[in-house]
Amino acid sequence: MSIAFLSPATAGDTAVARSPMERTAKAAGARFENRDGWNVAVEYPGEDRVRETVGFTDVSHLRKLEIQGDEVPGELGEAKREGDAWICQLTPTRSLLLGGVHAVPPDAVDVTTCFAALTIFGPLAREVIARFCALDLRPQVAPPGSFRPGSIARQPGMILVQDTDRFLLLFGWAVGEYMWSVVDDAARSLDGGPVGSPPTENQ
């Protein structure tokens, strides 16, 4: 017996992994590609239009590992960049490893499908997030690398400041459809919208 059943990455070729926001993405006109076993929305009609305002991308396929133990590295409220992965500290003994393709650390639990994920980016990214989240993401308070667990649209979630004007939102897989509707609504009110996942997106 093992806990391999937690991981979507171990599925066979016939079992395509799907984001909880796949149907809403499809309704928004997304074109999909199979990337490493995931059905990923890679393009939306008119998505270039939103790049100067605010765009959001479903990156639920991003690998997420939970690491627990006494030796978990990191600082409160900060995430560390390690290669192509982020290590986000949740508690003194618990952190999330986001992205990256290296081997799973011993004792890590694959929680990829526990958290759906959206990146929100563009000049109006903070304004969009401010429509549904009270976390303080001002640049002087939350520079790139900041990690903020808190309430997102009245659901438990986390925000990683990946770069200036680029935010990764993590939230429960089961609220994916709800969260899409919230973010989409806020983004559209600022002339933004969904954007396909670029090929270089970490997995």
């Binding site: 093992s2 499908t113 897989w173 009110s189």
Partner: protein, 900 residues
């Protein structure tokens, strides 16, 4: 037309004409005009009718403070004409007058009905006959009010954005003091937001975000909601600077509400900002130099000054400067009465505190300018916890103590921003009322509360300002006490003989400005959890309902048929909502031993055991299954509704016990389906290499295997009474696994089934639903599960002490099954009656079982009756029916089917 030639400070652009309508008639205005200034320039003097007496009301403050000019704009009521800029094509309509503003039949209330409409008249006059109150209420509500909501629902809806904003400093008020404070903070590197509710644009300040035409609504533990058009900003700042200024007070005298009676600030604003002459011949009455200055401004605008009275006994420097202009100021005098029909046509002045024809003098005029002094606009500030004191020198309440992080600057702090010419004399305190007995003297213009009403309320026993407020509704109107709080306090002091500091102020409450309910409601969030298979349920015609915070399929249109399919072939249900916890570590077994009444440290890897979680008091709080994956890893499931609470419960005890255990909540990360029925084994076998034979895969075995190519944990357990497999896997494969099972089961007759058929099936097996069949008093002993309590366990466990007591005490009631032969399905919650007809228990579940062809249920019954064959009486909303007790499951009582 009363439009003046160019004024130095005017805000209007005479090159751009704006056209709009008022009550359907065209009005021309200039860009920069407000609705109020444009209508006044066009000759309109009556802007509204009062709330109760339907008296004419005209422009008073021109600052959005008073209720006199509230109109509807494009169908939306509640807009103040004096601060709302004109827009091309806007449709402005009056409120609260029928058939029109200039002829209002409800004016009869004022002319003949005054004696019948004292404070609380509706409770005095219309109390009998009591049954007619709903009719009276409807008529009164129709007659009162400040406008009519738009009729069509789409017109009543609009989008309000919520915007959360953090800042280092929030400055409320964009006057000189506020701007200085904002600039100073920005220069120090602070992130500053300045909020100003005025109608005028604010010059940019480097480093400051300015929210113009935005009103701070209140102060909620550091959060300040700010309404700006279609956005509600929720601003959290480390420091708050209040620069809310001061509010000019009216005087209370007979006829003080007539159109043509204006505050000095209102007359000056109309003249200087909009180049509109407020009258042709004016009487000015003031208590301070700031009020007297208006006389000079009006004279410059070509208004003849008929008389100027100063409540102060001696002439100030400002008065002497007026004298140099040929305007004589009469000290120690005030206004006793404003006379007129549609508007002011004369004013009566007299010495303060003395009356009589010999000392009074009447002046013809079409404008009465009054200034009863200025009081700090403290309402928002007081909501921070700031304290006030009465300042006898100024005759008003002032800020005394401020909480940490809160600063007051400018007028609100007692600094005279406008009158700082170095020689301003102190203001006088006006008499509470002048000219009483000559006509209505209004203390509160919003609610039509007169000085006489305050007197009456005191006489009737409402002798504190808070009681009087509730009885007369003074300070409860749209001005929120700006214009009436101090006059009401002064009148209260006069009538009760108290000092003003003894009367005190009313409690400052949000909102500070009138705000549409839609703004407060904002954009709704309705979080919904959906399983990864949810889309399929919708496509299959699932009857989707709320189940806790999840959206679930209750059935697919045929709950009875779905339940039968599980018995006859196979059924598939989505149980992804179950709580799922991974418990790992060297002490994982001990951890579970301490949490559950039964034992888990001896559970072999690959085996499953049922568990009930009890509270400290030995009461059932949740249940589920535990599968041991390896020596140090357990997979725990909980009820759907209890998932969050159990995770918290585990985490809490883990932090306390400091065991070597790591806990991970997998609830949303894993999908789970239950494939059950006589064909379930065959269906599963087509999708996995696993040996699913009864010998290889026994009841209560847990196995790890691929199903349709997906790694799964398969638990051979049953909640519905048939051979069943609960299959858990990563949520990203929800639809894939579901589709594969449905496809594989098609030839076997598999059907999806929802929550409702599941409830029938589990009831047949007498499996409890925690929260449905149990409550906060239920123990494992009463719930017929004494076998689950292992009092001989080595470890102490939660609830042990209480359960040891319950183990030796006969419970008053026990949970049992019952059957009904008459087809009647009692309501869940129906009462169980004892032999004397006294309520002694309740029905917790009841359904018609299609496979048993009878009604079955579960109920808490008195222990002596908890025996097979006993008769019980069920009382269901007056109907009584007999039922027969059964203590073993209705279906497959020995579990042979389940284990097969």
């Amino acid at each position: 037309m009363s439009r003046l030639p160019n004024q130095p400070r005017e805000l209007i652009n005479r090159d751009n004409v704006i056209r709009f309508t008022f009550d359907g008639k065209p009005v021309e205005a200039y860009e920069g005009d407000t609705i109020g200034s444009a209508l006044f320039a066009a000759g309109r003097r009556t802007f509204s009718r009062s709330f109760k007496y339907h008296r004419r009301r005209g422009l008073l403050c021109c600052a959005g403070q008073c209720p006199n000019c509230i109109v509807a704009v494009d169908g939306a009521p509640g807009t103040r004409a004096c601060t709302e800029p004109v827009r091309e094509g806007m449709k402005v309509e009056h409120l609260n007058a029928q058939p029109g503003l200039d002829l209002d039949v409800m004016r009869a209330t004022d002319l003949v009905g005054t004696k019948f409409t004292p404070p609380g008249f509706y409770y005095k006059t219309f109390i009998r006959p009591r049954k007619l109150w709903p009719v009276y209420e409807k008529v009164l509500r129709h007659a009162a009010g400040l406008g009519v909501l738009r009729k069509e629902q789409p017109d009543r809806e609009w989008r309000t954005e919520y915007r959360r904003r953090h800042a280092d400093v929030l400055v409320i008020g964009g006057g000189a003091a506020g701007r200085r404070a904002a600039a100073a903070a920005a220069e120090q590197g602070d992130d500053v937001v300045l909020v100003d509710e005025g109608p005028f644009p604010i010059d940019a300040i480097p480093g400051v975000e300015i929210l113009a035409r935005a009103s701070a609504l209140g102060f909620f533990d550091g959060i300040v909601p700010v309404w700006q058009g279609d956005t509600l900003h929720q601003i959290r700042a480390r420091r708050h600077v209040f620069a809310t200024g001061a509010i000019e007070q009216p005087l209370v005298f007979a006829g003080n509400d007539l159109p043509g009676v204006m505050l000095s600030g209102g007359a000056v604003r109309l003249t200087q900002l909009y180049a509109v002459r407020p009258g042709t011949r004016a009487v000015v009455v003031a208590t301070s130099d700031r009020g007297l200055v208006a006389a000079a401004t009006l004279q410059d605008a070509g208004v003849a000054i008929a008389a100027v009275a100063d409540v102060r006994e001696s002439l100030s420097a400002a008065a002497r400067r007026l004298s140099e202009r040929g305007i004589e100021v009469t000290p120690g005098h005030t206004i006793l009465e404003a006379k007129g029909g549609k508007a002011v046509d004369s004013a009566v002045l007299g010495p303060v505190g003395v009356s009589g024809a010999s000392v009074e003098k009447t002046f013809d005029c079409d404008l009465v300018v009054v200034s009863g002094g200025f009081v700090p606009a403290m309402s928002l500030l007081l909501q921070t916890g700031a304290q006030t004191r009465y300042d006898p020198a100024r005759g008003c309440f002032v800020v005394d103590k401020l909480p940490p992080g809160v600063t007051a600057v400018g007028d609100v702090a007692g600094v005279d921003e406008d009158g700082a010419d170095g020689d301003s004399a102190a203001a006088a305190i006006p008499p509470p009322v002048s000219g009483a007995g000559r006509g209505k003297c209004f203390a509160c213009l919003c609610e039509d509360v007169t000085a006489k009403d305050i007197k009456l309320s005191v006489e009737e026993g409402y002798d504190s300002i808070e009681l009087s407020k509730r009885y007369t509704t003074v300070t409860m109107g749209p001005c929120q006490g700006r214009m009436c709080q101090l006059p009401a306090i002064r009148l209260m002091a006069k009538e009760t003989g108290q000092l003003l500091e003894e009367v005190g102020t009313t409690t400052a409450r949000p909102p500070w400005v009138s705000v549409p309910m839609g703004v407060l409601a904002g954009r709704p969030f309705e979080p919904a959890k959906r399983s990864s298979i949810h889309g399929r349920h919708r496509e299959l015609g699932g009857n989707i309902k709320w189940a806790g915070d999840w959206r679930r399929a209750y059935d697919y249109g045929d709950p009875q048929g779905e339940a039968l399919a599980v018995h006859e072939a196979a059924g598939l249900i989505d149980v992804s909502t179950l709580g799922k916890l991974l418990v790992r570590g060297a002490d994982a077994g001990e951890f579970l031993n301490r949490l559950y009444p039964n034992r888990f440290s001896d559970l072999r890897p690959g085996r499953i055991r049922y568990g009930v979680i009890s509270s400290d008091a030995g009461r059932i709080v949740d249940d589920g299954t535990i599968c041991r994956i390896d020596d140090e890893t357990f997979y725990v499931t909980t009820t759907s509704s209890g998932a969050g609470a159990v995770e918290e419960w585990f985490s809490w005890w883990l932090a306390d016990w400091r065991l070597r255990v790591r806990l991970t909540d997998l609830t949303q990360g894993l999908s789970a389906v239950n494939l059950a029925g006589p064909r379930a084994r065959q269906i599963l076998s087509t999708l996995t290499d696993l040996d699913c034979s009864p010998e290889a895969f026994k009841y209560l075995d847990g196995k790890h295997a691929k199903v349709a190519g997906v790694e799964c944990l398969i638990l051979r357990i049953g909640f519905v009474g048939e051979v069943g497999y609960e299959i858990h896997f990563a949520a990203a494969h929800g639809e894939h696994v579901w589709d594969a099972l449905m496809e594989a089961g098609r030839d076997h007759g598999v059907r999806p089934f929802g929550l409702e058929p599941q409830r029938i099936l589990r009831l047949q097996k007498m499996h409890i639903l925690v929260g449905q069949d149990t409550d906060s008093e239920s123990t494992p002993f009463g719930a017929a599960m004494p076998w689950i309590v292992k009092l001989d366990k080595e470890e102490d466990f939660i609830g042990k002490w209480a359960l040891e007591h319950y183990a030796i005490e006969e419970p008053a009631t026990r949970l049992v099954g019952f059957t009904l032969g008459n087809g009647y399905v009692p309501t869940e919650g129906s009462v169980i009656l004892d032999g004397l007809g006294v309520p002694a228990g309740q029905v917790t579940s009841a359904r018609f079982s299609p496979v048993l062809d009878r009604v079955i249920g579960m109920a808490w019954v008195p222990s002596p009756l908890a025996r097979d064959g006993s008769q019980i009486t069920i009382s269901d909303e007056g109907r009584t029916t007999e039922a027969q007790i059964q203590t073993k499951p209705f279906y497959d009582p020995e579990g042979e089917v389940l284990r097969s």
